[in-house]
């Protein structure tokens, strides 16, 4: 059974988001997503400074089995990437909520309110 954390927001495309005190948003893939993909062997991160519209492909995670796109859950500009996750993709399997992928400054922080809460995402994950 995959984990869903109560303090995070979620996209139906299986990204999690954490709103930080400085207004930036940390993004990763959910435990459900890493479990479905299996052993991750490659993570391609976006470039810092690049702007992405919501639902656009922003990163790629590849397991032994398959490649999966990661989508920008909300529109914003990438401010930081987690090189440690790219150097050790298995860290995402070990703890998908610790091994974040990138941080972005949202165009509109209110967009976060439209994202799924833990209960709503749990329902999405259970149905998948």
């Amino acid at each position: 059974m995959s984990k869903v954390l109560a303090n995070l927001k979620y996209a139906a495309s299986h990204e999690w988001m954490l709103l930080n005190a400085d207004g930036s948003v940390t993004v990763g893939i959910t435990d459900h997503a890493q479990e479905a993909l299996g052993d991750l062997v490659f993570v391609e991160l976006p470039e810092v400074g690049a702007h992405f519209d919501a639902e656009k492909e922003i990163a790629v995670v590849e397991s032994v089995k398959a490649a999966a796109d990661v989508y920008a859950p909300i529109s914003g500009t990438v401010t930081e990437v987690n090189q440690a996750a790219a150097d050790a993709p298995e860290s995402v399997n070990q703890d998908a909520y610790a091994a974040w992928l990138f941080k972005m400054t949202p165009d509109n922080v209110a967009d976060l309110d439209k994202m799924l809460d833990a209960a709503a995402y749990q329902a999405v994950a259970d149905a998948a």
């Binding site: 479905a36 299996g38 052993d39 062997v41 490659f42 590849e62 397991s63 032994v64 089995k65 490649a67």
Partner: protein, 363 residues
């Protein structure tokens, strides 16, 4: 409605992640796919391959039938129990399926064909028996009464584990060289596999498969899914039907020339087309030098023109991405080429199409 093997409940009891594999509800992994892969390279793992279809070929004309049916030559099968890997071709020289033929007696052979191609294979074989007016009876053994389950036990410790669980099989199987089979009571035990490791593939009455599966597991044999099976066969440089070749691809362009016997008088379906067309492409390996993962259908750019990856993944043994690819003639082993991965041209090195066997990298 997905088809289920006789071990379906056993997989679910072991918390397998199940996927639709060509219409079959099959385990892709139980836990970590890489750990399952490494268990087979270093110790022992087992696979449910009961979705594959055993076909019994019986009758006075078995040898005539098989010598015309497949591109490899069953005349090579001289000792009872010997197995032969072969491609069954259409008239255009394309591969209908790749299969293993086991020679039991001159009037009894067993073939094992792929899961997704079983129906068309059986129809093709039946049509050829009728067309050639031969005394041959074709009987599939996967579905219905008298059906068989198949468990592949693979890895350096596979034989010892099988003897521990089936001690009555030891005398008949310990002398088996690679690519042979022995019949022990209701068990058909073959020293064949799809991993590049030693081991057995065991066919047995379907009703007994779950008990054997659980006994092997209790003896410490790791259950492994189709995910690990795919990376193991890819490292071993073994073709996968539907990816590395199909009905539109000549065996000569799919790295299967070693299974095609053209130098005798013997005629077989597809021979004229192979002789007329010759080899058009080379089947070679790739190792990705940049970071990323090679996958099927990616374009390969070489100095001699473009080619295509037919199978690619990450190699747990090499800790690098590897692939099998169909490349233009003239490309040499050792050449550096580029692969188009999501619009980026990444560097790869051309290798022979085999990467790891018997626990070790061979590249």
């Amino acid at each position: 409605m997905l088809k289920k093997t006789v071990l379906n409940a056993a997989h679910r009891a072991m918390n397998a992640r199940m996927v639709d594999f060509g219409g079959w509800d099959m385990p892709v992994n139980y836990g970590s796919q890489i750990e399952e892969h490494n268990a087979v390279r270093n110790n022992c793992g087992m696979f449910d391959v009961s979705h594959m279809c055993p076909v019994d070929v019986v009758g006075a004309d078995c040898r005539v039938f098989l010598s015309r049916l497949v591109a490899n030559d069953v005349a090579k099968l001289k000792v009872s129990g010997k197995a032969l890997y072969a491609a069954m071709l259409n008239d255009a020289g394309g591969v209908i399926d790749d299969l293993i033929i086991y020679f039991l007696t001159d009037t009894r052979f067993r073939i094992v064909v792929n899961a997704g191609t079983a129906e068309k294979d059986l129809a093709w074989m039946q049509a050829k028996v009728a067309e050639w007016k031969l005394d041959v009876t074709i009987t599939q053994r996967r579905d219905g009464a008298n059906n068989l389950g198949i468990i592949a036990v693979q890895g350096p410790n596979a034989r010892a584990k099988v003897w521990e669980v089936l001690p009555q099989s030891k005398a008949a199987t310990e002398g088996l060289k690679a690519f042979f089979a022995a019949e022990v009571d209701q068990y058909f035990i073959a020293s064949t596999g799809y991993t590049g490791e030693d081991g057995y593939e065991i066919m047995l009455p379907a009703g007994e498969a779950e008990a054997l599966w659980n006994k092997l597991n209790a003896a410490g044999v790791a259950p492994c899914g189709l995910g690990a099976r795919d990376t193991l066969r890819l490292e071993a440089g073994m073709n996968l039907y539907g990816q590395d070749m199909d009905e539109t691809v000549s065996p000569l362009d799919a790295g299967l020339a070693w299974t095609v016997s053209l130098n005798t008088e013997r005629d077989f379906v597809g021979k004229a087309a192979l002789l007329a067309n010759g080899q058009q492409k080379q089947f070679l390996g790739l190792i990705l030098l940049d970071k990323g993962v090679l996958r099927g259908h990616q374009k390969v750019m070489t100095a001699q023109g473009d080619g295509e990856i037919t199978s690619g993944s990450f190699s747990p043994t090499l800790q690098q991405s590897i692939a099998l690819a169909r490349l233009p003639l003239g490309v040499q082993i050792g050449d550096e080429v580029e692969v188009d991965i999501r619009g980026k041209a990444l560097k790869a090195k051309v290798t022979k199409p085999v990467f790891a066997r018997n626990g070790k990298a061979v590249i």
